[in-house]
C-alpha cells in the first residue's frame, strides 16, 4: 500500500502547480475564455512543450505512457488554477479514441500532431433525447459503396468550434436504445454537409451543436470496429473519469481554501466571520468533502489497472456520486460564505463553481451514477 509519489510524479505535480501558481492569474483565465475558442493557443503550446499532451498515450505511440496517477496529478492542479484548455475533449476523449480505434499511419499522424499541440479534436456523441445514456442514438450511418453517409444531429460537442477533426457516433445497426450497432467515425471539421452551431457553456468553454446532412465518410474513417462503438466510447470515458474528478477536486480544494481565507479577513459585528462556530463547522464540512473526494479519486486510480473489473466500475460510480454531491455542497457553501461577493462575476468563486457544475454533469450526474452503482451492488 503506497499513497506517495515517485520522484517523476512529484516533478510533474510541481511543474503543473508552478504553471498555475505563477503564470496563470485569474485575469488571464478570464481573458482566455472570452476568446473565440475559449482558450489560449499559446497556453496549449505550453502544454505540448511540457509534454502534458503526451501523458495518457502509450510510449509506442509517442506518449509518456502515463498511468492514472499522472493524469490525476495534472488535472488536480488544472482544477486548482481553473485552467481553461480543451484537455478533456482533445486529449482524453478524441485522442484516446484515436489511439484505441485507429491504427497505422492514420494513428501515427493524428497522435503526433495532437501531442505536438497542432491538432484539436472533439467527440460528438450526445443527442437531444438521450440525456445521460450513451446508447440512445438516432444519428444514422448508412452504408455507401465507399463507406458511410451520416445524417442526424448531435447537441453538445465539447471544443467543437476549435476542432480540426471530430469523432461522431452514429447507428449502423440496431434500435435506438441498443448498445450494439453504434459506430464511431472520424470526420473532418470542413467536411461537406457538416454544420456547426457554436455556443458557450457557463464555464466559458465552447461547444457546438453538430448537424450532419449526408456527410460522406470512407470506410477507413471508421474508429474502432463497426457496431462496437458504444463500448469503445464508454471505455474511453471511464478512463477519463478519475482525471475529471481530480480536476473537480482541485476546484473544490480551491473553493474551500479561498473561503477559509475570506472568512478570516471579512468582518461582521466587529469580528472576523471565521469566529462564528456555525460557519466554522460549515468549513469543516467543506474540508471533509474534499478529503472524501480525494479518497475516492485515489481509490479509482488504484483500481485503474483493472479497467473492466466490477470493483473498478463500482469505484468510478462511487467517485462520481461523491464528487457530484460534495462538489455541489462545497460550491453552494463557498458562495454562501462569501455573502453578496459570492454572487458577483468579479470574484473567482462563481467561476470555479460553474466549472465544477459542468464537470459534475459530464458523463452522468450523481443521481445517474448512483443508480448505476445500485445496479452493480444490489442485484437480486
Amino acid at each position: 500500500m503506497n499513497f506517495s509519489l515517485t520522484e517523476e510524479q512529484q516533478i510533474l505535480q510541481d511543474s503543473a502547480a508552478r504553471l498555475v501558481g505563477q503564470s496563470y492569474p485569474f485575469e488571464r483565465r478570464q481573458r482566455d475564455v472570452s476568446s473565440a475558442t475559449g482558450f489560449d493557443p499559446e497556453l496549449w503550446k505550453q502544454f505540448a512543450d511540457m509534454g502534458w499532451l503526451a501523458i495518457p498515450f502509450r510510449e509506442e505511440n509517442g506518449g509518456f505512457g502515463g498511468e492514472a496517477t499522472e493524469l490525476m496529478l495534472l488535472m488536480e492542479e488544472m482544477g486548482k488554477g481553473l485552467v481553461a484548455v480543451p484537455y478533456l475533449a482533445t486529449v482524453l476523449l478524441f485522442g484516446k479514441l484515436v489511439e484505441a480505434g485507429t491504427e497505422g499511419p492514420l494513428r501515427d499522424d493524428l497522435l503526433t500532431r495532437l501531442i505536438a499541440g497542432q491538432l484539436q479534436g472533439s467527440v460528438a456523441y450526445m443527442e437531444r433525447q438521450a440525456r445521460y445514456t450513451l446508447n440512445d442514438t438516432c444519428t444514422r450511418a448508412s452504408q455507401t459503396p465507399t463507406g458511410f453517409r451520416l445524417s442526424g444531429e448531435k447537441t453538445m460537442a465539447f471544443n467543437g468550434p476549435a476542432a480540426d477533426k471530430l469523432i461522431v457516433s452514429a447507428r449502423t445497426e440496431g434500435g435506438q436504445q441498443d448498445e450494439w450497432g453504434i459506430s464511431l467515425f472520424l470526420v473532418d471539421a470542413t467536411a461537406p454537409g457538416l454544420e456547426l452551431t457554436s455556443y458557450r457553456l457557463m464555464d466559458g468553454q465552447r461547444a457546438a451543436k453538430v448537424l450532419l446532412n449526408d456527410v460522406q465518410v470512407k470506410s477507413g474513417q471508421l474508429v474502432g470496429q463497426e457496431n462496437k462503438g458504444a463500448a469503445l466510447l464508454q471505455g474511453v470515458i471511464n478512463n477519463a473519469l478519475p482525471g475529471l474528478c481530480a480536476e473537480a477536486l482541485g476546484l473544490m480544494t480551491h473553493l474551500t481554501n479561498t473561503t477559509i481565507e475570506y472568512t478570516k479577513v471579512r468582518k461582521q459585528f466587529a469580528v472576523p466571520i471565521s469566529s462564528f462556530q456555525a460557519l466554522q463547522h460549515r468549513m469543516v464540512d467543506m474540508f471533509t468533502a474534499c478529503e472524501e473526494t480525494r479518497s475516492l479519486v485515489y481509490r479509482s486510480v488504484c483500481s485503474a489497472d483493472k479497467p473492466d473489473s466490477q470493483e473498478h466500475l463500482r469505484n468510478l460510480h462511487a467517485l462520481k456520486v461523491i464528487t457530484g454531491r460534495r462538489g455541489k455542497r462545497v460550491g453552494n457553501d463557498a458562495i454562501q460564505l462569501h455573502g453578496g461577493m459570492g454572487i458577483t462575476d468579479e470574484l473567482d468563486v462563481g467561476h470555479y463553481v460553474k466549472h465544477l457544475m459542468v464537470l459534475n454533469s459530464l458523463f452522468g450526474d450523481a443521481d445517474y451514477h448512483q443508480q448505476q452503482l445500485a445496479t452493480l451492488s444490489l442485484s437480486v
Binding site: Y199, R200, N332, I343, D345, K354, V358
Partner: protein, 393 residues
C-alpha cells in the same frame, strides 16, 4: 380550524379569475422575462393591477389598499400561480410604501404614495453597504445637516434595479456617538440628484440587476426624512419582517413546481420520461411536501397579520424555509436539464438553436437564486434571530 371559503370568498375567486382572463398577464410576463424589456413589463402589469384596485392588497384602505382578508390574499395568490401572472416588484409596494404610510407625515404620504401605487415611480432600497452585509447596523453612509438639507456621502451595495430607479430609500448615519443601531436616519432620495452615480455589479447569472450606488455630497431636503432623526433603524426594522415574509415566495415556488413536473414529463432518458425516474420522484416529492408545509406556515402568518398581529420571528422561519425550497427547486430544475443546464443562450444563439427549452433559464435561476439565502439578512442571521428572540438562547 378550517380554510373553507365563504360564498363571498368564492365570488371573489370568480372575480380574480375573470381579471386574470382579461388582463393578459402572459404578455407582461414575456416582457419581464427579457432583460431589455423588463422594466416595461413590470410597469405595464402594475398599472393593470392599479386600475383594478389590487396593487397593494395589504395596505390600509385609506391609503389605497384593497383591504383584503387573509383568505382573499391566499385566493389571489393561488389564482395568480394558475394564471402564471407576475408578482409585483416589492421595493415600492411592499417596502417603502408601508414605511411612508406608517411613519411619514401627511405631506410625504400625499407626495409619494400615489406614484408607488400607480407605478410611475420606481423605487430601490439603500440598506446594505460594502463591507457591512447582513450586519446592517454597521452602515457608514453619512448624512450631515447643512441648513435645510442633509448632505449624503457614502455607498450602498446590492441595490437591485437601481439603474431603473426614480427614488431610493436609504438608511444613513446621522450620529456616531451611541450604539450602532442608534443614530440611523431614514431618507428618501431622488435618484436624479446630482452626486449620485450607479455602477452595475455583473453577477454570476450573467444578468445585471445588482448595483452599487455612490453618493458624493448629495443634497437631500430635510422634508425627505421619514419620522425622527436617529430613529431610522426602528422604522426599517418593523418592515424587515414584511420583507422576509415576501421573500418566502410560496406562490412562485408552487408555480415552479408545476413547471418542473411538466418539464420532467418531456425530458427523456433512455427513452423514458424523467418523471418516472425514481430519484427524480424522490427529490420532487421531498420539495413538494416541504412546500405544502411552507404554504400553511405562510397562511398561519397571514392569518395572524389579518388579526393585526405583526409577523414576528416567524417571518425569519418563512424566509429560511422559503429560500431553501427555492434553491432546491432551482437545483432540481437545472439538474433535470442535465448538461443543457450548463449552456448559455445569448445574442448569437438562442435556446432553440441549441435545442433545449429550459436549460438556459434554469442556469440563470440557479445562479441568481444563490442570492436568496444571502440577501434580506442571510439565513444564518435569521437563525440567530430565531435562536435569540423565539428560543431565548
Amino acid at each position: 380550524m378550517d380554510i373553507t371559503f365563504s360564498s363571498d370568498d368564492l365570488k371573489f375567486r370568480d372575480e380574480v379569475r375573470l381579471f386574470f382572463a382579461n388582463a393578459a398577464p402572459e404578455a407582461s410576463q414575456q416582457l419581464i422575462n427579457n432583460p431589455g424589456t423588463y422594466k416595461q413589463g413590470v410597469i405595464q402589469w402594475q398599472k393593470k393591477l392599479f386600475a383594478q384596485g389590487w396593487v397593494a392588497p395589504f395596505w390600509p384602505r385609506e391609503h389605497g389598499g384593497a383591504g383584503w382578508s387573509a383568505t382573499q390574499s391566499y385566493i389571489y395568490e393561488c389564482e395568480r400561480v394558475i394564471a402564471q401572472a407576475p408578482d409585483v416588484v416589492p421595493f415600492g409596494l411592499k417596502m417603502v410604501g408601508p414605511v411612508i404610510y406608517t411613519y411619514g407625515n401627511s405631506e410625504q404620504k400625499a407626495r409619494f404614495l400615489p406614484g408607488i401605487l400607480n407605478g410611475s415611480d420606481w423605487w430601490c432600497q439603500g440598506y446594505s453597504e460594502p463591507g457591512a452585509g447582513s450586519d446592517l447596523a454597521a452602515l457608514k453612509t453619512r448624512a450631515d445637516r447643512d441648513g435645510d438639507d442633509y448632505v449624503v456621502n457614502g455607498s450602498k451595495i446590492w441595490t437591485t434595479y437601481a439603474q431603473y430607479a426614480d427614488w431610493i430609500f436609504c438608511l444613513v448615519r446621522t450620529d456616531n456617538s451611541g450604539k450602532p443601531q442608534q443614530g440611523i436616519t431614514f431618507l428618501l432620495i431622488d435618484m436624479k440628484t446630482p452626486g449620485i452615480t450607479v455602477s452595475p455589479i455583473p453577477s454570476i447569472n450573467g444578468v445585471d440587476s445588482l448595483n452599487e450606488v455612490h453618493f458624493e455630497n448629495v443634497r437631500v431636503p430635510r422634508s425627505n426624512r421619514i419620522g425622527e432623526e436617529g430613529q431610522g433603524w426602528t422604522y426599517a426594522k418593523s418592515l424587515l419582517a414584511h420583507e422576509r415574509t415576501a421573500i418566502a415566495r410560496v406562490a412562485d415556488s408552487k408555480s415552479r413546481l408545476d413547471r418542473l413536473r411538466k418539464f420532467a414529463s418531456c425530458e427523456l432518458q433512455g427513452g423514458r420520461p424523467m418523471i418516472q425516474d425514481e430519484e427524480f420522484r424522490a427529490r420532487f416529492t421531498t420539495i413538494e411536501a416541504e412546500l405544502m408545509a411552507l404554504e400553511y406556515m405562510e397562511l398561519r402568518v397571514l392569518a395572524a397579520m389579518a388579526s393585526n398581529r405583526s409577523p414576528g420571528a416567524e417571518s425569519s422561519l418563512l424566509k429560511i424555509r422559503g429560500t431553501e425550497i427555492q434553491q432546491a427547486l432551482h437545483e432540481l430544475t437545472i439538474e433535470l436539464a442535465g448538461l443543457y443546464g450548463c449552456m448559455i443562450a445569448d445574442n448569437d444563439t438562442s435556446s432553440a438553436d441549441i435545442g433545449h427549452s429550459f436549460g438556459d433559464q434554469a442556469r440563470k435561476d440557479f445562479m441568481y437564486g444563490r442570492a436568496a439565502t444571502i440577501f434580506g439578512g442571510s439565513n444564518e442571521i435569521q437563525k440567530n434571530i430565531i435562536a435569540k428572540r423565539v428560543l431565548g438562547l
